[in-house]
Symmetry: C2
DNA sequence: TATTGTTATACTCTATAACTATA
DNA sequence: TATAGTTATAGAGTATAACAATA
């Protein structure tokens, strides 16, 4: 058998960035159904709600840097969540360029329902992986995530 | 201090699907620069090249199912790669509905260059993570990837 | 009737720049 | 001059359906 390759071998299926991406995309898409189909939330909206649910009174800017998303996309997400009655905004008391964001009772109630589904989803994933692999995965991700904030993967 | 939470707690930063997604996106984006900026390839085009580089003569259908991408997107990627002279297609000998895809020498040469960058990028990532974490990550991903093909995360 | 692949269309996301209002 | 947030716009990616050619 002749081998007509002229360069070094490459197996995409064993290329870490590709593997990571395939898995993350499938998991993410599978979970998105839970909040998009039933509650009409985009991924950005879901993430904004999650942050405000954990800590009320954040500004768009803070959320933007935390989730590494553009301020434009956050601005649109916040506007949509406001017009659907899930959050309200007030001008910042000390600096009126900021807007302080608060969940409405409806928004809080909605997200409380979503946390249950999120936890159930995560439990399913952990069951699929097994406890040990889940812990290993969590450990690796916890090691990588701080590097993102430090801009280790920028450019 | 009063706690005004009305539902169960939720920490997005410790939610596995979110963690996976943040890391995968950052890693992926960081690598994309290598083939997009210098060679004008889209992610789909890069993946098509990778498959043909490893195994010449595949059809669009086969590539589509392997990388879990829509046949429309593959069709467009193949058309773009053909018009930029990186691959050629012939009607399948036994069934003319299929088109057999081959890299041109230019396409093969281009991808040989890309494999070097890919390996270098992966080595950087492994160095960042450390050998042990890298192996753990690989093991977990190898456990999850077959589940995708089985449709475990569909719907 | 089913399958490969193309075309058309619409919708979402993303990235950028220009703008406002505040500081 | 710099920052928070908005608006407008163009590009890419994604999803769907309709279509042509072949089986």
């Amino acid at each position: 058998m002749s081998n007509d390759r002229q360069g070094p071998a490459f197996d995409l299926g064993r290329f870490l960035p590709y593997m990571l991406n395939q898995v993350a995309e499938a998991v993410s898409k599978s979970f998105q159904v839970r909040y998009q189909r039933e509650f009409g939330l985009s991924r950005t909206q879901w993430r904004i709600l999650a942050h405000l649910y954990a800590q009320d009174g954040l500004t768009a800017k803070v959320i933007s840097t935390r989730i590494h998303e553009d301020k434009v996309s956050i601005s649109r997400g916040v506007a949509a969540l406001e017009s659907s009655g899930r959050l309200s905004r007030q001008p910042g008391p000390s600096d009126r360029r900021f807007e302080v964001l608060h969940l409405t009772p409806e928004g809080r109630e909605l997200f409380a329902q979503l946390t249950q589904r999120a936890h159930a989803f995560e439990a399913d994933l952990a069951r699929t992986l097994g406890a040990e692999s889940t812990n290993e995965l969590r450990k690796v991700l916890e090691k990588l995530l701080p590097l993102l904030d430090q801009g280790h993967f920028d450019s």
